[in-house]
């Protein structure tokens, strides 16, 4: 392991080179935050900045973490500590179709685990993984609050209710680029 400080410049430059528009978008958002010298009050904007960044980039790669760290005058380690704490944030790219099976109690009682297993078999990935072609991500959620439709599967924004293992192949077929 080498120290990341030496590569600081290049990480940000790389980001600006690879994703100029997204980087500009994130920078523009951070410009609207009242960032000052006081680290304590800057920190209050960290979570909203991470939400925005993940919305723009889809995930939080190390370059983006570096950018946020510098703009908010916080350390990289602290940013990573926050990202790894909250389940909403991810530092790995995830598939274009985010298949999330609700595994809240109501869905569990109605057999959501069988649905997860079926997706896992059909897509040949485990829970928390993205398929090799980058199309599908399979995850589980803790209750989306649509317990009357249990078991519930969300594919991006679309909600499927009363899902049985037999419906899984159709749900996958519905995912068209």
């Amino acid at each position: 392991m080498t120290c990341c400080c030496e590569k600081t410049e290049s990480a940000l430059e790389k980001l600006a080179r690879l994703e100029p528009e997204k980087t500009a978008q994130l920078n523009a958002f951070i410009d609207t935050l009242p960032i000052g010298k006081d680290i304590e009050s800057n920190r209050a904007h960290l979570i909203i900045a991470l939400h925005q960044a993940q919305g723009i980039f889809g995930y939080l790669p190390s370059e983006v973490q570096q950018l946020i760290a510098e703009r908010l005058k916080l350390t990289r380690s602290e940013i990573y500590g926050v990202i790894s704490f909250y389940s909403y944030f991810t530092d790995k790219p995830i598939g274009r179709f985010k298949i999330n099976v609700c595994c809240g109690t109501a869905c569990f009682v109605k057999g959501a685990n069988l649905v997860v297993e079926q997706f896992s078999r059909e897509l040949n990935i485990k829970e928390g993984e993205t398929s090799a072609d980058g199309r599908f991500f399979l995850g589980v959620l803790r209750c989306v609050g649509a317990c009357s439709l249990a078991p519930v599967v969300m594919v991006n924004e679309r909600v499927y209710g009363n899902v049985t293992p037999a419906m899984v192949s159709q749900i996958i077929a519905d995912c068209k680029d």
Binding site: V82, S87, G145, A146, V159, G161
Partner: protein, 614 residues
């Protein structure tokens, strides 16, 4: 228009009442669950039908929040100006013309209406019926358009704030809440008025009031319903709280997973500000109050107030030791009140109708009502708000409509992962904070998951521990490692690898975790294990000593076997994902147990009940 005085508010309400059209309203429930069930196309089709038929002068389509009848979404309620109302469930677009044509006076031909059992104690006399819902927190949910402040004003909205600001002193406000006996609806049941008094007693200066909208209990969705259905009630209550404790800033900490609630709150804050009901010099009393939204990022432990405060500060949401309580030293080190959404939703009603009125509902120790989210193997999945002291049996079998498919009731899990299960023998318990605790469960946020005879209790305990292991913040060793060990033991038992000493280990470890964890998460996480151990020792023993899962759930201990009803159609063999079923056409097939992954596809596919699960 800016409302500067209580009489401005009265004048505005009079103006709105005068402008009331008298049209029959067609209410479409569009909370998250309603939308997921297909409510939006129904609302669009309804609007189109009303316009095309030229019925705009008679009917008005209103998007409302959740009425709690989630089991029959999408639904349309036809509500006449005279109060007559009919509710249609599971509506399809084809039924719309008939529903509109029939109006509120008679039921559309060939359709059935949903019976409701709801009364609103603020506006109505208690009906004769024995078991009824008593709606205080959910008073406006599903009745008004949450995106229009005018609808809220017509339902006495902001009257409580006007009264408090112009006629009461802060100490009187706290005292009235103490007198009402309102207890925190987020789980622990701490008296809200006392909490306010603590913060009010702190020296003057910057203070905060936080609304905890980080509803994380799987299976509980009442806070979402309130935020989506009646956001102004929460804002009004926060302003009242701000006045009582001397805070000028309110923060709503809300789950990022609730996009609709966030959108409606933003709109509500904007509208209240434009009317001058939030902002500077409210009701010309010199009282300033603003509200901001703060987003959670998916951490169950952030429901704990000190963890929540750390999360708002931009840190990892780890709890810290109390005291100092947040009411003394909270956000940025300043006195801070953290109240749950449902708690706040009760507050405007208390100040409109008085402490004595509130105390007259519920039990002496736990006044008022409580919203429960019914889910699992129950017919009427949805929200019910019932007076404290009601019997569990009435909630599950009267309001909840009993168990699905006529199965046998086994347990109800109350309080989510921190709660415990309650069995049939305790169904006649009157529900309040203390009685649930005595049964090894807890009120929690009010999730009620009903389970039937097909549920394996060891597996349920394993499920909750899996959740806790995921959500433990990692700060305290007993919670971080102890729960992991509990989970591993349960996992082994479910996998058929249990040993007799595990029973004692589970109990001992559970008690250590309870006694030595810092926050509520660790202190309650072994509850599901302890309560299932206590109530269903035989199920644990069957797993360990007989390698048998009595409910036939734990896959390691069951086999799928084809019986002699098999006619050899070959359907199961074609559907089997691992090709472990063999046999020739029209002869009994056979499952190769060494290859079978026990997914159960064959059993669900078979049309002749020729596959047994043992």
């Amino acid at each position: 228009m800016i409302i500067k005085t209580p009489s401005d508010l009265t004048a505005k309400v009079a103006e709105l009442k005068a402008g009331f059209s008298g049209k029959t309203q067609l209410l479409v429930s569009l909370g998250t669950c309603g939308i997921a069930a297909g409510g939006s196309p129904i609302a669009a089709a309804l609007r189109k039908h009303v316009t095309e038929q030229g019925l705009e002068s008679k009917f008005e389509v209103v998007d409302v929040g959740c009425l709690g009848l989630c089991y029959c979404e999408p639904m349309i309620e036809v509500k006449a100006a005279n109060g007559k109302s009919l509710i249609y469930g599971n509506v399809t677009e084809e039924q719309i013309p008939a529903i509109v044509a029939a109006g509120a006076d008679k039921v559309a031909e060939g359709l059935q209406v949903q019976a409701t059992n709801i009364y609103y104690p603020e506006d109505q006399e208690k009906p004769e019926k024995k078991v009824v819902q008593t709606r205080i927190a959910l008073r406006n949910s599903g009745r008004i358009n949450p995106e229009k402040i005018e609808d809220y004003l017509l339902k006495d909205g902001y009257q409580a704030l006007a009264k408090v600001l112009t006629k009461m002193k802060p100490e009187e406000v706290c005292q009235q809440l103490v007198d009402a006996g309102l207890r925190g609806r987020g789980g622990a049941g701490f008296p809200t008025g006392k909490k306010w008094q603590f913060a009010a007693a702190q020296p003057k200066g910057q203070k905060y009031i936080i609304c905890n909208a980080d509803e994380g209990d799987p299976g509980a969705f009442m806070d979402r319903a309130v935020l989506e259905g009646d956001p102004h009630a929460v804002l009004e209550a926060m302003a009242i709280g701000g006045f009582a404790v001397g805070a000028d800033t309110g923060l709503i900490y809300i789950r990022a997973e609730y996009p609709l609630a966030i959108a409606r709150l933003k709109k509500a804050i904007e509208q209240a500000t434009s009317y001058g009901l939030l902002g500077k010099n409210i009701f010309s009393t010199g009282f300033n109050f603003t509200i901001e939204l703060k987003y959670g990022a998916g951490a169950f432990v952030c429901g704990e107030e000190t963890a929540l405060i750390h999360s708002i500060e931009g840190k990892r949401g780890e709890p810290t030791f109390k005291p100092p309580f947040p009411a003394v030293r909270g956000l940025w080190g300043k006195p801070t009140i953290v109240n749950n959404v449902e708690t706040l939703a009760n507050i405007p009603a208390i100040f409109r109708k008085g402490a004595a009125w509130f105390k007259s509902i519920g039990t002496p120790g736990s006044p008022g009502s409580k919203v429960f989210a019914l889910a699992g193997k129950i017919n009427h999945v949805g929200l019910v708000e019932v007076p404290m002291g009601i019997k569990l049996r009435d909630v599950i079998f009267e309001l909840g409509g009993g168990i699905t498919d006529g199965r046998e009731f086994k347990v109800v899990q109350i309080g989510g992962p921190s709660g415990g299960c309650i069995t049939a023998k305790n169904l006649d318990t009157a529900i309040d904070y203390e009685s649930l605790k005595a049964l090894g469960s807890m009120m929690g946020s009010g999730g009620m998951i009903v389970m039937d005879e097909d549920t394996c209790m060891v597996n349920v305990a394993r499920f909750f521990l899996d959740f806790t292991v995921d959500e433990s913040c990692g700060k305290c060793t007993p919670c971080r490692i102890g729960n992991k060990r509990l989970f591993e033991i349960l996992d082994k038992i479910c996998a058929g690898k249990g040993t007799p000493e595990m029973l004692d280990q589970l109990e001992e470890l559970s008690n250590v975790i309870k006694d030595t964890s810092l926050c509520g998460l660790g202190q309650t996480s072994p509850n599901p294990v302890l309560s299932t151990l206590k109530n269903f020792p035989d199920e644990y023993k069957a797993h360990i000593f007989e390698h048998r899962c009595p409910a036939a759930v734990c896959t390691a201990m069951l086999n799928y076997i084809i019986n002699d009803k098999c006619i050899g159609c070959g359907l199961c063999a074609r559907k089997c994902p691992v090709n472990c079923i063999s046999g020739t056409q029209k002869t009994r097939h056979h499952i190769d147990q060494s290859k079978c992954i026990k997914c159960g596809v064959c059993m669900r596919t078979c049309k002749f009940a020729a596959i047994d699960r043992k």
